[in-house]
């Protein structure tokens, strides 16, 4: 008997799963009991029967993300360690309404930097322009603030999540 937890839209769902035979499992989700026969597993594809009925599914694992393709739709779940740890994470996020750094929302190239370290900028003011797949994306100031550090130069490549600029609130 094992337990797994998944987060979707900040709600946690618990799944209890138990091996009850050769290639047969029993899972309990939302108080519903599902008997799963695993007929075949080929790469991302799982051929199963759930409560007797056949499905050809795909499961793609990327870090803690799970992409489940079932009956044509792909569902994105996020595996979390337990109910408690996740809720704590969410709380952490909620407490912060100002991030002191701007992270790159995508991989791409810095094509233009409009500001310099020390500049005072107003909310929504364009700070820099990123380019990816031939389209430009403008990164703007989240609030009125002061530019502390700019970590890249024009024409630098950045990855998703790289800190681009650090800031402090103007009224701090």
């Amino acid at each position: 008997m094992k337990e797994f937890y998944y987060e979707v839209n900040q709600e946690i769902t618990k799944v209890t799963i138990q091996k009850i035979g050769n290639h047969v499992w029993k899972a309990i989700v939302n108080e519903r009991e599902l008997t799963i026969h695993l007929d075949d597993r080929q790469s991302t594809r799982l051929d199963v029967r759930i409560n007797g009925r056949g499905y050809h599914c795909h499961i793609d694992t990327q870090g803690n993300d799970r992409f489940i393709s079932w009956k044509g739709s792909t569902y994105a779940l996020r595996r979390v360690d337990s109910l408690a740890s996740h809720v704590q994470n969410l709380d952490n996020v909620k407490e912060k309404d100002f991030e002191p750094e701007i992270r790159s929302p995508m991989p791409g190239k810095v094509v233009k930097i409009h500001v310099q370290e020390g500049d005072i900028v107003v909310a929504k003011q364009p700070l820099l322009i990123l380019e990816a797949m031939k389209m430009e994306y403008v990164i703007t100031a989240p609030k009125d603030c002061i530019i502390q550090k700019i970590l890249f130069h024009e024409n630098d490549q950045v990855d998703l999540g790289n800190t681009l600029i650090t800031l402090t609130l103007k009224n701090e």
Binding site: R41, T61, W70, G72, M106, E136, Y137
Partner: protein, 493 residues
């Protein structure tokens, strides 16, 4: 007919052109950049040639390298697809000079229509109505501000060599003009190698309606009726349909006739599209002529039964159009949606990764144009268009039914796509009513967020099953350093 044709493109359109070449019994030659080593168009081509490099300037826009390959592989013709060099008159000219047929119009037609300013002049002479604007060569900030004031805000800044929304910016107030011009120029230079821009009156609540044209070397020019492509996000088309439900039979006749006249004004040969803006009073204005195949050609193919790409090749080989205008009928209704590598949860930013699995919907009157395959990496170097999904049915209502079914059964993983956004569009009551103006997305989706998806219990159970098996597996093999090499071929499963 030719023996061998080079496809100077990548992605779904390269795959589609390769199919047309091979159906005609010809040899299809593909080119590829370094990040495209594993791309789908190579898989299907008969011969392939590598152009080392990543960015378009070094690869798919590299005229010199492409011509070298064309000569080395002894092709008779080059099909440029759309984007890249498809509207580059210099390229067409050099291809022709090398004794190779360019599958498209003459360099002169590309040049005159490609320069939007020249195109507008020609259309004015041919009495095709045009949108007010400024195409002067004095592009100083002061002049542009003055001209914008004359035309009246809002103003559209557009790239002369442009297309596909690249290098296009809306300016609501004078203070935004300079930044917009600068940004449009940069985008235009990147995308087309030419940073010339112009200004145009921005019509509010307009529809984007375009007419497909085919011309042969004997001077025959016909149209294949219209497409409506009003649904755009940031000037990027998302959903296109044929016919437009907005046109009356009389207006349809007029607009198609204007398009044929526009094409005749430049002695147009091969496939092209005349784009119009149509306001709510059914006034239509010439917008631009695309002297190439278009992404959305599939909806025309489904409603007329004509295979445009095969005809492009036949026309280029000197064949006459096999039918006259009155043999072309527009039948039923077709809708296309574009599958982009854009994450709607993350503000439609590009999504990259390796396609882990792909099971597009297979069914009656459902067409898939695929540029991807399981195992293919999606990189940041090129357009985010991954695939197109096109449906056909006898009426718009039943075509929408089918499109909903198909979108709900589009299996893809490894990257994020705009599929959740497409689903919302085709389920929107205003779309179903046909209220599809070019500001549809701004109007109805400005504060849109991906809706919370209801997840079936089965999906949770399958995820848990997968964890269970993986844990069991790693316990079972704990004595062997089984997964130390993430690329080890035998842990691929």
């Amino acid at each position: 007919m030719f023996k061998k044709v080079l496809v100077a493109n990548r992605g779904a359109i390269a795959v589609r052109i390769i199919q047309a070449i091979q159906e005609l019994g010809l040899t299809a030659v593909a080119i590829y950049s370094t990040p495209d080593e594993r791309s789908l168009h190579l898989h299907w081509a008969d011969e392939t040639y590598h152009i080392p490099g990543e960015v378009p300037q070094d690869t798919y826009l590299n005229i010199h390298a492409i011509l070298d390959i064309a000569k080395k592989s002894k092709v008779d013709a080059i099909h440029p697809g759309y984007g890249f060099l498809s509207e580059n008159a210099e390229f067409a000219e050099k291809v022709n000079k090398a004794g190779i047929t360019f599958v498209g119009p003459s360099p002169e037609a590309i040049r005159s229509m490609g320069l939007k300013t020249e195109a507008r002049r020609i259309m004015q002479l041919a009495n095709v109505p045009i949108v007010p604007g400024y195409q002067g060569e004095d592009r100083s900030t002061k002049t542009l501000l003055d001209k914008a004031e004359e035309i009246g805000y809002p103003i559209l800044v557009k790239a002369s060599a442009g297309g596909g929304g690249k290098g296009m910016k809306i300016v609501q107030v004078p203070s935004e003009l300079e930044t917009a011009v600068e940004s449009a120029k940069r985008e235009a230079l990147k995308a087309f190698g030419d940073d010339t821009i112009y200004l145009e009156k921005y019509l509010e609540e307009p529809r984007h309606i375009e007419v497909q044209i085919l011309g042969d070397h004997s001077g025959n020019i016909i149209h294949l009726f219209e497409r409506e492509c009003s649904i755009q996000r940031r000037h990027q088309k998302i959903l296109e349909e044929a016919p437009s439900i907005f046109l009356t039979p009389k207006i349809r006749e007029n607009i198609c006739c204007a398009a044929v006249n526009a094409a005749k004004a430049v002695n147009y040969v091969n496939a092209g599209t005349v784009e119009f803006i149509v306001d709510k009073f059914h006034n239509f204005y010439f917008l631009e002529m695309n002297t190439r195949l278009q992404v959305e050609h599939s909806v025309t193919e489904m409603t007329t039964g004509v295979d445009i790409v095969k005809l492009q090749l036949k026309i280029a080989a000197g064949e006459s159009l096999p039918f006259s205008q009155n043999e072309i009928l527009q039948k039923g209704h077709s809708i296309e949606v574009r599958i982009y590598a854009e994450d709607p949860v993350n503000n439609f930013l590009p999504s990259t990764g390796i396609i882990r699995f792909l099971e597009p919907p297979i069914g009656v009157n459902i067409r898939n144009d695929l540029g991807i395959h399981a195992g293919v990496p999606v990189t940041l170097f090129y357009d985010p268009l991954l695939a197109k999904l096109t449906v056909f049915d006898s009426t718009r209502t039943t075509a929408i039914e089918k499109l909903k079914w198909a979108i709900d059964r589009y299996g893809i993983s490894g990257i994020r796509t705009n599929i959740p956004f497409l689903r919302e569009i085709v389920n929107h009551p205003e779309f179903i009513k046909g209220n599809t103006t070019t500001n549809f997305i701004e109007k109805f989706f400005s504060n849109w967020n991906v809706p919370h998806q209801s997840i079936p219990d089965e999906a949770f159970a399958l995820a848990a099953l997968s964890e269970y098996i993986n844990q069991e597996k790693s316990e079972y093999h704990s004595s062997v350093d089984f997964e130390s090499d993430p690329f080890s071929p035998w842990i691929g499963e």
